[in-house]
Symmetry: none
Subunit: 123 residues, 4 copies
DNA sequence: GTGGTCTAGACCACT
DNA sequence: GTGGTCTAGACCACG
C-alpha cells in the first residue's frame, strides 16, 4: 500500500490518509478483511507521528470503513463501494461549488469561470 | 460601501471582506485615496468582531491594496486594477485546479466532473 | 459545570468526560446553545491534557451532541434527550449482561447472583 | 478438560480461560496435582495464540492456583475451594456494584435497574 | 481569546 | 508484536 503525504498542503495529514485509503477501497485495491499496516509501521514509513495515523484509522472506523481489533490490527470492513463513490462525488461538488462562489464574489462572469474550467480540464 | 457577509459559509469572514473590497476596487467603485470605513464602524455594521475587520484591512495592506495612516484611517492605495483582475483569476484557477485534481485522484471521470460543474454553475 | 475525573479508573478520561456531559444534557443542566468550557480552560481545571479534553469534545460532536465553531468555542447541539436516555440504558444493559455472564461462567447460580444484586441495590 | 472461548466477547481471552479453570477447580473437576494441558496443545485446541494461554497460566500461578514445573508442565496447586468461591463472588459483586453505580450516575431509577436486571437474568 | 493539527515519547492491555 | 490512552508543548488559523 502506497500513500503520498504532502505536509505543505493545507489538508490535514490524517485526512489525506483517510481520503487515499477510501479511494483504494473504492478502486478495489483494498478489500474486506485486508489488513491495514500497523499504526507504528505506517507512521515510520510516512515519517509522521503514530498518533496522526491512529487518528486517521479512528476516523475510518467511525465512518464504518475499518474495524480494529485490540492487539491484532486494523482491517478493512465490509462496505458498499457504491456509497463510497457517492460520498466522494459529494465532496467534489462542495469544492467546485465553493470555487464558483468565490469567483462570482470577485465579480468574474460565469462564462469566464466556465472557460477557465474547460481550459484546466483539458490540460 | 456595501459588503455581504455569510457567517454560515466555510469561507473565513475576513477573507470575504478582502475579496469584496478587491472587487470594488477592480470595478472602480473604490479608487485611490478613498477612505475605507473605520474598523469600529464596519464591525458594527456587519455585526462582527472589530478584530476580524482589522485582520481584513491588514491583509489588504500587506497585499498593497490599502494603506493605514495612524490616527486617521485606512485608504485605498494606487493600484493597477488590471493586475488585480489577473490576480483574482489566478486564485480561481488554483481552486478549480485543486478540485479537478481531487476528483481525478478519486477516479471520477472528466465527463462527470464537467457535468457536475455545469449543474452547479446553472443553479 | 462540575466534572469529576478518576484517573485510577480503567475508564478512559475522555470517556468519563463524554459520559458526564451527556448526563448533564439529559438532566437539563446543559441545554441547546450552551457554551462548553474551552478546551484549555477545562484541561487546566481538571489538570489533564488539552488533547484529552479535545478528544472528548470531538466524540460528542461526532455523536451529534455538540457543535464546535472554529475560533469561538464548543456548544451543545439540539438533541432529543429521550434518545439520549435510551442510549444510556443500553449501556447499563451491556454492563449488567456482562456481569451476569461472568457469574454464570464461574458456576454461580442465578439465585445467588440475584440475591447479591438485591443486596447491593439496597445499600 | 473443555473450555469455551468467545473471541467476539469483550472479555479478554486469557481472562475467560482463567475464570473457567477456576470454576473447574471449585467444582472439583480439577484437583490438586492434576496436569493442565500444555500451552501448545491448549492453544491448538482453542485455536488461539500460545502466548495467550501462557498468560492465563501465568495468572493462575501468580494467584496460587497452579504451579509450573520447568520442562514438565503446569499442575493444579493445593487450594481451599471454599475460598475460591468466595473470591469469585467478590469479583461478581464488584462488577454488579460498578454497573449499578453507573446507572445511578446517569439518573436511572433503581426500579428500572432492577427490572432490566431481571429481564437479562431470565433470558 | 478560541479550536485544529502535529510531535515524540510514555505506559498500559491484549495477542 | 498489536492497539489504546495520555502528556506537554508546539505552531497555525480564526475571531
Amino acid at each position: 500500500m502506497r500513500l503520498i503525504i504532502q505536509t505543505s498542503s493545507m489538508v490535514p495529514i490524517y485526512e489525506q490518509i483517510v481520503d487515499q485509503i477510501k479511494t483504494l477501497i473504492r478502486k478495489g485495491e483494498l478489500k474486506e478483511g485486508d489488513n491495514l499496516p500497523s499504526v507504528r509501521v505506517l507512521s515510520k514509513e510516512l515519517k509522521i507521528s503514530a498518533l496522526t495515523v491512529k487518528k486517521a484509522y479512528d476516523a475510518l472506523e467511525s465512518e464504518g470503513f475499518a474495524v480494529t481489533v485490540h492487539g491484532k490490527g486494523t482491517y478493512i470492513a465490509a462496505i458498499n463501494s457504491g456509497l463510497l463513490l457517492e460520498e466522494q462525488r459529494k465532496e467534489l461538488e462542495v469544492d467546485l461549488e465553493r470555487a464558483i462562489q468565490k469567483g462570482r464574489r470577485c465579480g468574474i462572469r460565469d462564462e469566464e469561470i466556465r472557460s477557465l474550467f474547460e481550459l484546466l480540464l483539458e490540460e
